[in-house]
Amino acid sequence: MKKNIKLLQGNEACVHGAIYAGMNFFAGYPITPSTEIAEVSSELLPKNKGKFIQMEDEIAGMATTIGAAVAGAKAMTATSGPGFSLKQENIGYACITEIPCVIVNVQRHGPSTGLPTSPGQGDYMQAKWGTHGDHPVIALSPTTVREVFELTVKAFNFSEKYRTPVILLMDEVVGHLREKIEIPEAGELEIIPRKLPTVAPSEYKAYEFTEDLVPPMANFGTGYRYNITGLVHDETGFPTNSTKEAAKLLDRLMAKINNNLDDILIYEEGYAQEAETLFIAFGGIVRSVKEAVTTLREQGHNVGYFAPKTVWPFPEQRLQEISKNKKNIFVAEMNLGQMIEPVKLAVEDKNIVKGINKANGEIISPEEIIESFMEVVKCPVK
């Protein structure tokens, strides 16, 4: 009856989810508050015939993860703020070379060393814009330990399906929380394998414009000798200085994500359609929002919530649909106002959008959310 029920920390659940998804390689560097992901990986991977390597720094952790993926592995790395900054260049490399891999960022307070053991959500914009140049990004943000497991599986699936690095944007609240989780049985969740080439090596074009815009990927050592480069490249994979090819490549990289938003966008809603007031949050703060909404509804207030799990791309269209009848929209986040930007872009009347922000290393409490709501409701802005 209780065979698969466990008390697991978010960070531990991430590793269990990754192994469920087929992770067989982890490279990283210890950093609070993500270190348990490396620790648990170092134990579970060799037990499952996988490999773990502790690298000399964060940059190497990212590079080695990509290298392993090129050789056929399902690879992951995990880090936190300062390490996420250091990994950015190679994340961009994985974007343009279309190497599937998963990067976990257990967000802590920043900038710089900040408050290493305290939660933050200040890396929201960095997850999208951290590496230079335009590039596609998928970032997922879990709220519960069970969701950490499920979204880690999703992260691997998206990375393979769309040949792109996927960021699991956790925060310390969820990473360090121990909670009840029922581990899914084998086969319960879908696992998407890498799309390998079906043509002969002589026919293979590593970056071919296929109909779905995601070219099949040959793993090194399997007879398909080709070139991978971070330089702008044509369909063959070799560098080119052609401005036409540069535009074509970038268009395809963006389109392969933007054409599949129905598949990629995941969000949770509670009374979101009917409510007069909508609360929006991601990651650990969704817990506070849900408690605040429960309390406020018990008191007779018509409130609801919208919690994006796919935080990049932002579920703009859905928010646009549900925000039409709203009097107030609150965006609660452990930063000084980052997700509020895409929210404002989606909502027609920008004046109804207000931030509930806290960037001192403390989680926003349900009481603080209720207080912000009461202040506005009592003296509504014109």
Binding site: I5, E179, S288, K290, S365
Partner: protein, 176 residues
């Protein structure tokens, strides 16, 4: 039902493990439970704390706001975590701790937890398990057997009888 617990003491007293054991005992009984703890320097020798919330419904906000029970095994921890209590709270402290008489709570238990571990059982490191015996008496929703099972799942092999004794001694310390 929702019970919020704050277990505090000095780093190394095993209170985080005690918190994990309580949460595991609860979920093994089909209840919900979450556990969080203090990280960083204070977890390594200062005043460390573990928080546990047990309930029969989904638990959203993960932090303890009004502890139903505060356990303190060191003076520093007691002084640091005494806030947020109200008239319904229960305090469990080691007898060595100086408490302030003006605290308005439901009940203060001053018990020889550390001494029981070090003198009666002869291993000061089982003080956390003695404390678990005390707490089990104070949380009627938790079954004694499920807490004991959770303890035996987590303690090192070969120390099962020692820890069972410590747990039983803890129960003996508090007769309701």
């Amino acid at each position: 039902m929702k019970k919020e617990l704050r277990l505090s003491g000095s780093g190394g007293q095993g209170l985080i493990l005690a918190g994990i054991i309580l949460a595991e005992a609860a979920i093994n009984q089909g209840l919900n439970a979450i556990q969080s703890q203090s990280y960083g320097p204070e977890a390594r020798g200062g005043a460390s704390k573990a928080e546990v919330i047990i309930g029969d419904e989904e638990i959203f906000f993960p932090k303890v706001r009004k502890p139903n029970i505060l356990l303190a095994l060191s003076q520093k921890a007691f002084d640091q975590y005494i806030h947020d209590l109200d008239s319904k709270s229960i305090i469990v402290v080691d007898e060595s701790i100086q408490t302030n008489d003006k605290i308005e709570v439901d009940m203060i238990y001053k018990l020889p937890i550390l001494k029981t571990a070090s003198e009666k059982i002869g291993k000061s490191m089982v003080a956390n398990i003695v404390a678990l015996g005390v707490l089990t008496q104070l949380i009627p929703e938790l079954e004694k057997q499920s807490v004991l099972d959770a303890i035996l799942q987590r303690v090192p092999q070969g120390t099962e009888s020692l820890n069972t004794t410590a747990f039983e001694e803890g129960i003996q310390l508090i007769k309701l």
